[in-house]
Subunit: 277 residues, 4 copies
């Protein structure tokens, strides 16, 4: 007996839940959890079904294809641990939290490697027996640097790339290659404070909350589908540096919560938004 | 075409979602929202299905009864506005919030009457053209007082009684009569600070958060099924009275959110807990 | 014996707390609360001192002027209730919350009048025996409309104008006249979603939090000094209208908390920020 | 030039702020931050003053003793890093967070050693080059075990002991020895769910929030002065184990925030409460 997750996304139509659950029932698969959502604005249907039983994947998927509207996207995902490569620059807190959570079992993920343009976090990474690759950007143009990074990253055949405070903007070539597979943590409650130095921007504006946003990376800077956001209160006592310090906990919490949803197959990306079931 | 909500609760068994949604599909009822939950600890299944179409209630329910395990509880709820009677003592904020939300359409409820042991809130209630009944408890024992209260309350044939800071404990007789139909707001994050003067208890203990709990009333004081809880931070600057003042917003927000869930048929009561779908 | 609040703001210099509290001590004024803040970036000093005793205002302020750096701003504020005029368009929740909080004593404020470009909220306002003035903007250009509004507003000699979902942009003439005396509630966590229809913008962007911002109005739309912000979580289930409905509670809570700080003389405005002591 | 913190606590009396800041001013000490609190219920005065300049500690303290009421508690604390010993059982998340925050500079603390009754966390601790002592309790009575623990702990001359999910109750002898020097994280929003298995208790009660409490340890189990509390929402989908997993982040955040306040000398303990300035 196995546990698998069936992810279904198609145009809405009458009887979808009935048809899908019927097929599962006929296959004697037990539904452990079922979550569905119909986006009435766009007329799209999303369903995440946790199943338990003996699977005949091909027959199951064929029957679904026949029963569901044309153009259905359906996927049967096994319980395999996802493999990630983490990209960082110099800050330790997001990387450290993922390392710790993987270490103590809070995050069911295989960290294949950490890649950076600095060697600052080599020591921390290697404490956890994970390969660390430093590819300095000095003397390289953006394309050359990315090509060298990708040479390493591609090697690991990762399911997702996690930008855990990687402070360089990626080129369209890079982003295309890992379409909807790159998760970034931005240190503001987007769409406020897009771009560089969001804490300085927040300080200058005099906001009373600061936050963090985990999102998939697209070619539009800080405009990709948002997975998770959270905020903390600040006040006049906080200068930009205090905000940056206080923001560390919310950044790492938001990133690891987003990652947890993604690697456990709860997240659909639809247009420029996420549906999290 | 009508909108109705099907609430199903039974022992878990294979194929329940499939069976229920099949029957709906055969009746050409469109599922707008569907939420289900299986409590694996107890082996119970709960489902809330928002349906749209032409209903033949009797046939639909008969078919469900045949398809589902024995002892199923299923209910088809129409879109009728729920009718409530509000019980208060002297504090205005919870009553005021419900009156305002009913007035501006945020809360889809018919406030049949307000009943109190004081006349303090008569003026406020009558601003909104709602009958106010004052039944003083002075000179009466608890049973006599409640009997007089019930004489009035029963008259209104309410779906729910809302204790919006009604500061007297109800007798088992009263509670039995409105079994799982009485919603209370308690001014602490239960189970902390059961009983009288929770803010004074919170101050004495030196807690750094205070809160409020909306729950169904049972015979065990402050022990009924919890519907909604929330908290706010406090610190050493707050004495018991400051806490009481600061707590007003969280009390009223928690109560009106709980009420909103209940009157829109999102809440199952199972044993001493709620399942909110 | 009286209670007054001394508000001091000047360039930072050695010994300020000592000098100010010495003068208070010499006047036999007891300090109930004292809060100070030094903005190290700008080198400015802010202090709010709650005093109790017999006041000789003129001598006290003269001695402070002599002791403190040139250009000091100091103010001795009595315990008088502040007078406000509320401006609204059609939405009831923010107005309703202020009316209720004034009614039950949670907000110590004298609501002199409500002014609107529609008569929608006349009924609600008059329930609380407060004058309501409807000045329709139909057929008038912006300046003409504001002139007619101001004719009424000026009459009430208000300490503050509260824009409780007043949906028109004010001209510089209007804003100048009530410099740092106009408090607005904007239905987003500024600086995200400036301008019209912030909930629609939030929905289109797919954010996972929505919020509200209370700020002083300046000539730059939605750019004035922020007093208070708060947020609530949302998800894919919320369309723009659901967000708007869910946002009501956070809007009204943020506005009434901001107003409470302002009318109790906790708020300094400095450049484009607030210091709240 | 040095930075020191003056902590003053005494019975309230007229002119205290004036007297203390005068003496600092005479010593040409610049006040960077000043926070004071008067507990009107008990008539006690608390002040935390961050000073910068050349210090003559003895003269300064003597002058304060003369100026202030009898029985004053005043302390001049240098900028030295505090030294802690961490006690753990088997769970990694709280220990891991403190190790990471110390490593990346978020928490300015010297972790002298980790002491446990199991060797589970030896590997993690030693990654960060910190001594780990395992003192098994097997075959020992409580007093014998604690005596062996204390032999090691005492050796490190720690300012504070941090119980980062140390799951054994300490004897009065142990607690007395480190009076107000032991910080514990309890995995509930105290006073709810005192004692063992708070997440199971929370699950059984059906609460809609769970939380964590950092407090000083006293002889009354889970009754010591509370430093910090926070909560997260849960619902019917969480069984006791899910709550325990979800609670990890709030536990570690609450503990490290409390620790940060304590080691930076923001926390006064007064009777059974904390005043945090």
């Amino acid at each position: 007996m196995e546990k698998k997750i069936l992810l279904t996304h198609c145009k809405d139509a009458p009887g979808l839940i009935s048809k899908i659950t019927n097929i599962c029932y006929k296959h004697q698969l037990n539904i452990i959890h079922n979550n569905e959502f119909v986006d009435n604005t766009s007329g799209h249907f999303f369903m995440r079904t946790e199943l338990h039983g003996y699977f005949n994947d091909k027959i199951l998927l064929d029957e679904l294809d026949q029963a569901l509207p044309q153009g259905v996207s359906r996927q049967l995902v096994g319980p395999n641990q996802k493999r990630i490569v983490i990209m960082v620059t110099k800050e330790a807190h997001c990387l450290g939290d993922i390392l710790m959570k993987s270490y103590d079992g809070s995050l069911n993920v295989d960290i294949a490697a950490v890649v950076s343009n600095y060697d600052t976090l080599k020591g921390l990474t290697e404490k956890f027996d994970i390969p660390y690759h430093c590819v300095s950007h000095i003397g390289l143009d953006r394309e050359e640097h990315e090509a060298k990074m990708l040479e390493i990253i591609d090697m690991y055949n990762a399911d997702y790339l996690v930008l855990a405070k990687y402070m360089r903007v990626l080129t369209p070539t890079f982003v295309e290659k890992y379409h909807h597979k790159i998760i970034n943590i931005h240190h503001s409650f987007l769409p406020a404070f897009i771009g560089a130095k969001p804490y300085q921007q927040a300080y200058d504006r005099g906001v009373k909350i600061i936050g963090a946003t985990a999102h998939f990376v697209t070619n539009d800077l800080d405009e990709g589908p948002i997975i998770k956001q959270d905020v903390i209160p600040v006040d006049h006592n906080f200068n930009a540096q205090d905000m940056s310090q206080a923001g560390r906990d919310v950044e790492k919490n938001v990133l690891s919560k987003a990652l947890n949803k993604v690697i456990n197959d709860h997240v659909f990306v639809f247009r420029n938004k996420t549906v999290i079931l």
